[in-house]
Assembly symmetry: C2
Homo-oligomer: 376 residues x 2
């Protein structure tokens, strides 16, 4: 086998060696002081990335498990207003349908959320709002703070999926009034896939559902985490916790503000390349919405066949993402999350330039150079 | 730090280097041929350890997640008869209470199950039976085949927790009529903690619940696994899958029959030591029940203080388990699962002999020698 392809996806992303090496060691007992300290380190640093002083737990399960935990523990039986302008907003809606009366507030994917329609749902009695902060399926960043204010005005719980923003973009859960916030390990945290984390406000605890699932019962997580030695209620994915701890320490060492600025620079570089090429970014913005800080979605130029295009890039050892569902064949997406930097971005953009040229696209200008100017 | 303590627990257990090393490599995309092949290897070999030709899925979550998946997908709204003679039987009952009308068929922990009471529940209309095959909390092995026959007679689904027997003891899911069977990664499979697997019979699929959870929705697992390239519905814990594949390959290389015989020898060695010492094994058996093949539960001799006793052993770098809940301070448990062998067992028994002597216990004979005779 050649080396692993470079993953320029909206997750999973390349994992630094130090993080991966943390998983090799011999098994340890997860009911003991050492594991407790690992868990505590993760919680301490993740709280900073969430911008929260609320309780926070690490779940042995993907971001989807954490999304479900949010809805299942605090939304059972409620009317849940689900904001959707992409695939993960849709997923939140699907989850909400299993636990409450789900009301979708849908915009075309990649276009601004309909805050007036949300307010209508809230006025009609929705007790929970779900938002995907950074919608990777469309490359759009949604106005979390504004939605938090609306939720608060109508006394609804505010659930925010920060899976692909936390660790790579500004997130201020407490300041925004986000009651329940989730992240996944394999995105901007640059840890291996398989873990997620969730924070819970006092206001949410007061509304804890009576009927809760078992494995994702956050009351059990709370009890185990508050023991003298921090624990999880059921057997955790120990190697992944060890890796997440290292990934968190790397964030602390880099400094969260520096890390976010670096992510901003990376996505700006990619957007400048797209614009130099004369291609169109996919999202349609208004004053409230912004381009994602961690993934760039671009319209595939007329006549370019997606699988041939991405196949050519993959042959050069780089994976970028296509569109999902009805966006398949219409857009391509470049993730710039975690531990990636100039070499990976410049390599990726060069490969894209080459693949587009091979497909007969006449580009307006030199995207790689435009990116280098941002990164240099 | 000194090296990690030797874990002689009923899980987690020491993980062979080859298995741990599989986790170090760079992240790969979980929507791709390579991951699909990894998943397929796990499924192929796990099916053999389960004794099943049914569909089998690997879940990114602990054994408890798989237990919940069993009940939540197939037991919603049913009357569920939960056999309990230890802590994990009790856990099954707790899970069942969240999804159906749970009826516990309880025996004192470590004593035979009450099959007459089970038959009564079945005659009264229970549509599902849950059984913990190997109850590690008490060191007892329950008569799965007999329970399978009873379930079949009354047309109830049979859910079997094989978390600590599969890979270390005879399990014949199909022959026993076990419709839904689960295993955990960190027990007899000797893989890292964090994964579980579940098999589902055709009979169970026909009774799939309408209301299912999201992350643990087995219909979604089924759909993703049957794609051209095997996938999981949501992001899997990739490093743990890579490790599990190596652990499964090790089982295949050793040969399942050889591996089970080795486990039998290991637990026999420990039981012979206990009996040479003149101590009492904890389980009370009848003709249907047997001592566990993977964990030995022994009564703490009169006057021995549990934490001082296990503390002394831990000082020698070895972790054995105490009792759980009301068995705390009354028993100690030695796991002999996975990749352990004579050095670990003889070392552990020597440490126990020493710790008991230090606590003033006068042992009847030489347990270490008795064990060596089995292992040698």
């Amino acid at each position: 086998m050649e080396k692993e392809p470079l993953l320029m996806l909206p997750g999973p992303v390349p994992v630094p060696e130090r993080v991966r090496m943390a998983m090799v060691r011999q098994a340890i007992n997860h009911r003991g002081a050492e594991f407790g300290a690992v868990y505590a380190d993760c919680v301490r640093i993740l709280k900073e990335t969430f911008g929260t002083k609320n309780e926070l737990f690490v779940i042995s399960g993907s971001g989807t498990a954490a999304m479900e935990a949010a809805v299942a523990n605090f939304g059972s039986g409620l009317t849940i207003a689900c904001l959707e302008n992409g695939k993960f907003g849709e997923r939140m809606f699907k989850i909400a349908q299993r636990y409450g009366t789900a009301r979708v507030v849908r915009s075309e994917w990649g276009t601004p959320l309909d805050l007036a329609a949300l307010e209508h749902e809230l006025a009609e009695g929705a007790g929970m709002v779900t938002l995907v902060h950074n919608e990777t399926s469309a490359g759009i960043k949604n106005p979390a703070e504004k939605i938090g204010r609306l939720a608060k005005k109508y006394d609804a719980l505010f659930v925010m999926d920060g899976i692909t923003s936390i660790g790579g973009d500004e997130v201020h859960a407490d300041a925004w009034g986000a009651d329940i916030v989730v992240v996944g390990s394999q995105k901007c945290l640059a840890a291996p896939a398989g873990l997620s984390a969730i924070s819970v406000s006092e206001r949410a605890w007061e509304r804890l559902s009576e009927r809760r699932p078992y494995y994702l019962d956050l009351a059990a997580y709370r009890k185990s985490a508050s023991a003298k030695v921090m624990e999880t209620p059921y057997t955790p994915a120990v190697p992944l916790f060890l890796a997440l701890r290292e990934a968190c320490l790397l964030i602390e060492e880099e400094g969260l503000a520096t890390r976010i600025a670096r992510h901003r620079k990376m996505s700006q570089a990619v957007r400048n390349a797209v614009s130099a090429w004369g291609l169109a970014l996919f999202p349609k913005l208004d004053g409230d919405h912004a381009y994602s800080n961690t993934v760039t979605a671009t319209r595939l130029p007329e006549g370019v066949e997606d699988s041939a295009f991405r196949g050519a890039i993959k042959k050069m050892g780089i994976e970028i993402a296509g569109g999902q569902d009805h966006l398949k064949g219409k857009i391509f997406r470049i993730g710039t999350m975690g531990a990636t930097g100039a070499p990976e971005i410049l390599g990726t953009l060069s490969a894209i330039e080459h693949a587009l040229a091979k497909q007969g696209v006449r580009l307006a200008g030199n995207g790689v150079r435009a990116a280098a100017e941002v990164l240099g």
